[in-house]
Symmetry: C2
Subunit: 155 residues, 2 copies
């Protein structure tokens, strides 16, 4: 099975000078059960459906399946998702051979900024940018599926 | 939104002389919540992912979205589905301009045989085959998603 290895961090300082591109993302969940998350996403003008299995014990590896779908279908599917649509801007920052995805949340999750980096293996080493804060990999509160139900403003 | 209008019946007599084709179907659910069912199906050697919204009050109309996916991906996705995989043989019987889909269940739903017919409108009239029994349209016990959790053998 394809696996996704990701580490997730809070952002503690201004990352904006390093941003290469930014896209608005809207996403909702048809299932937010961690063993079988089904996500609908609109990324700019492209739709996606993504299915994720349960994480391994470290929270680093996770089965992931994704298909691009027409924007109109993504909109229809978003309309039947669970209450709590996530609205965020995703900024890309490159450093060495790594791309950091920085999610700046809006709406009920306003004020939350999270950076993720995808790795080849669980032990892979990378240089930490100055704006990178506390690691929150595996902390379920920061799952987007959890933020949809229990947004940052309520913490 | 695309809508599916279907009526569902028990089968009370031998339908086999009328069968035109039969396929084995395995299916599981990533979500079995009626408001947003996410189904993975293997139909012969083809995979599908299907998403269904909530039914209207009569139980006849339902939003449905479906995509064909590779068999290998359908197998992966089946492995992360909720417990209770449905195993059935689907027989097709044609009568006038209608095609009846007759599902003969196996495993924990052995003994259950259900016929479905898809209509153009809720009021459309069709001739009833001799083997067609009691109508069970809208009876949630007969939803495949319910049969996965509460199989016929336990009724």
């Amino acid at each position: 099975m394809p696996q996704e290895i990701e580490r997730k961090f809070l952002v503690k300082a201004d990352f904006r000078p390093y941003v290469e591109s930014s896209t608005r993302i809207m996403q909702g969940y048809l299932s937010s059960v961690p063993e079988r998350v089904v996500r609908v996403r609109i990324n700019g003008d492209t739709g996606f459906i993504t299915i994720k299995g349960i994480s391994n014990d470290s929270g680093l590896s996770r089965y992931e399946w994704e298909k691009e779908i027409p924007l109109s279908e993504a909109r229809e599917l978003l309309s039947i998702c669970e209450p709590g649509i996530i609205d965020k801007t995703r900024h890309l920052v490159k450093m060495d051979e790594f791309t950091f995805e920085i999610d700046e949340f809006h709406g009920d999750n306003d004020g939350l900024v999270i950076a993720e980096v995808e790795l080849e293996s669980e032990g892979e080493v990378f240089r930490k940018p100055v704006w990178l804060g506390e690691e929150v990999t595996g902390d379920k509160r920061y799952y987007n599926s959890k933020l949809a139900k229990n947004p940052y403003k309520k913490w």
